[in-house]
């Protein structure tokens, strides 16, 4: 049992010694031999009082060269140090990560010259990188100052190792090394001292970093992969951390290894499905192996290099590399390289395609059979029949032209790929082999070819008088009808239409004959006043032959703007209107005849007199027409004109053969038809004349009242059935005319005088008869008639004949009364007034009749006008007796002599009344009046 324990202890101890701890003290010696140069040192002088020289000494050293400081002249010094301030511990051999604990120093020194005795101080020191702070503890100098005396080389190693201040222990700390030389000369004018130093040694004690891996290694066999394919577990890449002995070694701290490739197209993953991309693989302290997965889309030529590099971690790890072969994948693309481009295996096309011109042949630069990453598959060879797609047919249907039989060698086409594209477009070209491998090319712009023709688009239908609506433009095109969007040409405009005008501005303003293409096109503004169909407009390049014509355009009439009336004998021309003079048929042809119907045609026209017979404005169907604006008039017998009844039916703008009858014979007649519902105003027809129809009756007329004994005219007018005067149209027949009156004889028996009506009395259809009637009466008529057997006759209206003027003649007007009267007694005087033909003068105002008599009297004048018998009366009384004469004076009213017309000279009735005045029976005589002779009557 004890033996077992001992054996176990031995084994344990053996393990302890065989596998020592990673952490242990170590040492490195850093020697500065100055064998070939100054080794980066420089001289820092602190004092120089004589002639000083110093630096690297070529030709003396131990064994080769050295550094020195020298001074000459009496009692002079050359003090300073050789300094190097760019060294890290690691530069001096300390492993990275190690901790420097202490440093021991030594150097070789030689007193090369000392002509006269003096004292020198030679030592070595360590300062920080700024050369200001001593980094040692337990002593300032690495090797304290020493006064060399030997002319031979001797090693100075007096001081023990000095500890390094903890602030400067890291292996990457930069320190400054000083080789101090304070050299002095002796007390003699020729004194000189020269001290040389060589083989400055730093024995650096350090504690190395814990031991870990020193390298990273790809442990897998070299892989050959396919571009774009994840290597997966079958071809996994493995990186492993190993120590110097190639033993898998865990890192001493978390360590990141970055895996890259010199391929420009690799992606590194951490999973076997290549879904989690990363270049960094992190190792914990308990792992030393990682699987690396990769997809590289770029084929190698011949290989790419994978590199694993430590990017973080405490251990010093050298990179690991491995070559990897990436082969192109299966052909999946036929890559077209167009003019202006170049193809690079693995990259594809570069450069911009240059524009092509429609119809111009060019060569596709190449076709490359590649995998999905533009890696050329060199196995694709032989003659292939290819199919192209992408570019379209030209607008005129011309298809693109390609080279379809193509030979390939090592994945690259070798045939000249002549191509012609005809459609102006920006497109891509795709070529396939049996429907496979299609891959769209870069975009290529096909510019249109040179100007060849114009596309002229004019919308149809249009409306007369209105600027064309819709799309009306011109586009420049090449031979294949591609639009030339940069065209600047000028075109001359022509048309086969009538009254078509081109304009330069919207709304048809500014007439023009030319358009200039702007961006290859121009907008046309067109208007025509003429309704028409089948017209076209043509654009022809000014100075060239290139041309283009629109399709057929229909110009419909505008909206009905007027109703024209075509009278008999007139013409209507579509687009012009009514022309010619009316010519009616019938009795009064070419004039219209009263009472005789005639036909008119109504034409609905637009503002340009186009018959509105088509298109959306077609004026058709039943319309409500008014003829009230016609100049027609009622006949003299009040018969109104006869117009068509409503509704009036229009067919394509026309309502023909409408019957109208005018009854009023007059000039300046018109027919006007207004559509009151739509509405459309009518235009008055040409004026025309309506003449009287044939004679039908006589119009007999005389003004009334008339005056007895005064002649007046009675007219006899030949008239038609509607009492229109025939005027000169009347031809009086020969024969005996009827001419009578109902007038009676005057009271004095004087008969009416009317004469006879004869043919010759008629002039222009009118006969005027002067007649004189003597009897004051009313309702007198005159009758005229054509000679028998004509039935043309006429009776005048009633004529009233008033009495003539008061006749002064005593046979006509009288003054009557009693033969005698007593004094102072009123006696009535009766005045009877008559005209010459003893027609009583009624209604003579009382004031016009003035009584007068022999004096002494008192007269009561008539107080009422004459009655129907011409009688009025007054009263007179006399205060004296005797024979008295009563007279009547007529004032205001006309008083004539017996001829009926000559004014009476004295204004008195010729008739007087004589009356005798007597005393009344009761005469009282007072006073001394003496009565003589005579007798008293009536007492």
């Amino acid at each position: 049992m004890k033996t077992r324990y001992i054996l176990f202890l031995i084994i344990f101890l053996s393990f302890f010694f065989l596998f020592p701890k990673n952490v242990h003290a170590d040492q490195v010696t850093y020697t500065i031999p100055f064998a070939t140069d100054y080794e980066g040192f420089s001289w820092v002088s602190t004092s120089c009082t004589g002639t000083c020289t110093q630096g690297w000494y070529d030709g003396d050293g131990n064994p080769a060269d050295s550094v020195y400081a020298k001074v000459t002249a009496k009692n002079k010094v050359n003090q300073g140090h050789h300094k190097k301030g760019t060294l890290t511990w690691e530069n001096m051999g300390v492993p990275a990560g190690a901790t420097v604990t202490s440093v021991d120093g030594k150097f070789d020194v030689k007193n090369a010259q000392e002509t006269h005795a003096s004292t020198h101080a030679i030592g070595t020191y360590l300062y920080d990188s700024a050369d200001t702070t001593n980094i040692l503890t337990g002593g300032v100098a690495l090797e304290s100052d020493f006064n060399p005396t030997s002319a031979s080389w001797a090693t100075r190693d007096a001081d023990a190792a000095k500890n390094v201040d903890s602030a400067y222990q890291a292996s990457n700390t930069t320190v400054s090394i000083r080789i101090k030389e304070n050299v002095a000369s002796g007390n003699n004018n020729s004194a000189a001292s020269d001290i040389r130093v060589d083989n400055v040694v730093l024995v650096i004690n350090y504690t190395p970093a814990p031991s870990g891996p020193t390298k990273v290694v790809f442990t897998n066999a070299q892989r050959t992969l396919t571009a774009g394919t994840c290597n997966g577990d079958a071809y996994v890449l493995t990186i492993q951390l190993q120590n110097a002995g190639s033993t898998p070694t865990n890192p001493t701290g978390t360590t990141v290894i970055n895996v890259t490739s010199n391929s420009p197209s690799e992606t590194v993953y951490s999973d076997n499905g290549c879904s989690s991309s990363t270049n960094d693989f992190t190792f914990s302290t308990s792992e030393n192996t990682k699987n690396v997965y990769i997809i590289d889309t770029r084929k190698s030529n011949p290989t790419w290099t994978l590199t694993a590099t430590k990017t973080s971690g405490p251990d010093t790890i050298t990179d690991g590399t491995q070559s990897i072969t990436i082969n192109a994948g299966n052909v999946s693309r036929l890559v077209l390289t167009l003019p202006g481009q170049s193809f690079t295996d693995g990259t594809g096309n570069s450069g911009s395609t240059t524009n092509r011109t429609a119809g111009s042949s060019f060569n596709i630069t190449s076709i490359s059979a590649t995998d999905g990453y533009f890696n050329v598959n060199t196995g694709y060879s032989g003659s292939k029949t290819l199919v192209y797609s992408g570019p379209g047919n030209a607008p005129d249907s011309t298809p693109p032209s390609y080279t379809t039989s193509v030979s390939f060698t090592s994945g690259q086409s070798t045939t000249t790929l002549a191509t012609t594209l005809y459609k102006a477009e920006t497109t891509t070209v795709t070529v396939t082999d049996g429907g496979q491998y299609g891959y769209a090319s870069s975009g290529v712009t096909v510019d249109p070819g040179i100007l060849n023709n114009y596309e002229v688009v004019a919308a149809t239908p249009q409306t007369a008088g209105i600027c064309f609506t819709g799309t009306n433009n011109i586009k420049a095109r090449d031979q294949w009808n591609n639009y030339r969007t940069a065209d600047t040409s000028v075109v001359n405009m022509t048309t086969n239409g009538t009254a078509v005008t081109f304009y330069s501005s919207p709304g048809c303003s500014g007439s023009t004959t030319q358009y200039t293409m702007s961006s290859g096109q121009a907008t046309m503004y067109i208007k025509t006043t003429k309704k028409q169909s089948g017209i076209t407009v043509t654009a022809t390049k000014d100075g060239g032959t290139e041309t283009g014509t629109s399709s057929s355009i229909t110009v419909n009439p505008g909206a009905a703007a007027a109703i024209l009336v075509k009278l008999p004998g007139q013409s209507f021309t579509d687009g012009t209107g009514i022309s010619g003079s009316p010519s009616f048929s019938g009795l009064r042809s070419p004039n219209a005849t009263a009472g005789t119907s005639f036909s008119v045609d109504l034409k609905a026209v637009d503002t340009n007199n186009n018959l509105v017979d088509s298109g959306p404005n077609n004026y058709t169907g039943t319309k409500t027409m008014s003829f009230t604006d016609s100049v027609a008039g009622n006949a003299p017998d009040s018969t109104p004109p006869s117009f068509p009844g409503n509704p009036v039916t229009f067919t394509n703008g026309v309502a023909d053969s409408l019957s109208i009858t005018y009854y009023n014979a007059a000039t300046g007649r018109t027919v006007e038809a207004d559509d009151t519902a739509t509405p459309v105003s009518g235009t008055a027809s040409t004026t025309f004349i309506v003449q009287a129809n044939s004679v039908n009756n006589y119009g007999v007329s005389a003004s009334t009242p008339q005056t007895a004994g005064v002649a007046f005219n009675v007219t006899v007018t030949a008239r038609d059935a509607w009492n229109n005067s025939l005027g000169s149209l009347y031809s009086a027949p020969a024969g005996t005319y009827v001419w009578t009156t109902t007038a009676g004889n005057a009271p004095d028996t004087t008969a009416p005088v009317i004469g006879t009506l004869i043919q010759g009395n008629f002039a222009s259809g009118v006969a005027t008869k002067s007649v004189t009637l003597y009897k004051a009466e009313s309702g007198i008529t005159f009758t005229a008639g054509e000679p028998s057997p004509s039935t043309v006759t006429g009776i005048s209206g009633g004529v009233t004949v008033n009495p003539g003027s008061i006749s002064a003649d005593p046979n006509d007007s009288t003054v009557t009364g009693d033969a005698s009267v007593s004094t102072n007694t009123n006696t009535t005087i009766t005045i009877t007034l008559k005209d010459t033909w003893r027609n009583p003068k009624a209604n003579i105002p009382a004031a016009d009749v003035i009584l007068s008599a022999t004096s002494l009297n008192e007269i009561t004048q008539p107080s009422s006008p004459t009655d129907a018998n011409g009688i009025t009366s007054g009263q007179i009384r006399w205060s004296n007796t005797g024979e008295k004469i009563v007279q009547v004076t007529i004032q205001n009213s006309s008083l004539v002599q017996n001829d009926g017309s000559t004014p009476d000279a004295d204004g008195k009735l010729d008739d007087t009344h004589t009356i005798t005045v007597f005393f009344t029976a009761k005469v009282e005589i007072k006073g001394g009046t003496e009565l003589r002779g005579g007798s008293l009557i009536g007492q």
């Binding site: 600047t488 004959t513 200039t516 022809t540 100075g543 032959t545």
Partner: protein, 167 residues
């Protein structure tokens, strides 16, 4: 001495006035328009009018109805062409004879004789006139390319910047 000087100065001014008056009259007779100092001669204008007139007659148009409109259009376009030419000159844009010839060849193709005969019938012009037209077209296209916008739109705006005199 003073008097002589005054008379001399007056004589100079009078001479300048007379010269300007008569030279102006001559210019007015020679040119129909001037664009930035570049004249359009009446002879050129009349030739254009006659050319276009022939075209419209060839096209069986009622030329009398459009004669005045056409004449104005022609002058407008000649002025616009002159603006393009002046601008091109300023910018150093030129059309090489080879460019004109190349375009000409492309237009007439293999039917030069027939093409020129048709031109003659339409406009009464010959090959030289047509080559000038072709050259003008190419120049317009080059200017349009330089200005980077529709030439017509540009001309409309550019007219404001040119001194245009129409006699």
């Amino acid at each position: 001495m003073m008097k002589i000087t005054v008379i001399f100065i007056l004589a100079v001014f009078l001479s300048l006035f007379i010269y300007r008056y008569y030279s102006r009259t001559l210019n007015d007779n020679k040119y129909i328009a001037v664009v930035d100092g570049e004249g359009i001669t009446r002879q050129e204008y009349d030739k254009e009018v006659e050319r276009v007139k022939k075209f419209y007659l060839w096209s069986k148009q009622d030329y009398n109805r459009i004669a005045s409109i056409s004449a104005q259009d022609i002058l407008d376009h000649m002025i616009e062409d002159k603006i393009v030419a002046v601008y091109a000159k300023k910018k150093g844009i030129f059309v090489k004879p080879s460019e004109t010839q190349e375009r000409y060849n492309a237009i007439v193709g293999d039917n030069e004789k027939e093409y020129l005969e048709k031109l003659s019938a339409m406009y009464g012009t010959g090959k030289d006139d047509f080559l000038k037209k072709v050259e003008k077209d190419i120049l317009s296209e080059k200017v349009q390319k330089l200005i980077g916008q529709s030439l017509k739109t540009w001309i409309t705006e550019e007219k404001m910047n040119y001194k245009i005199t129409i006699f």
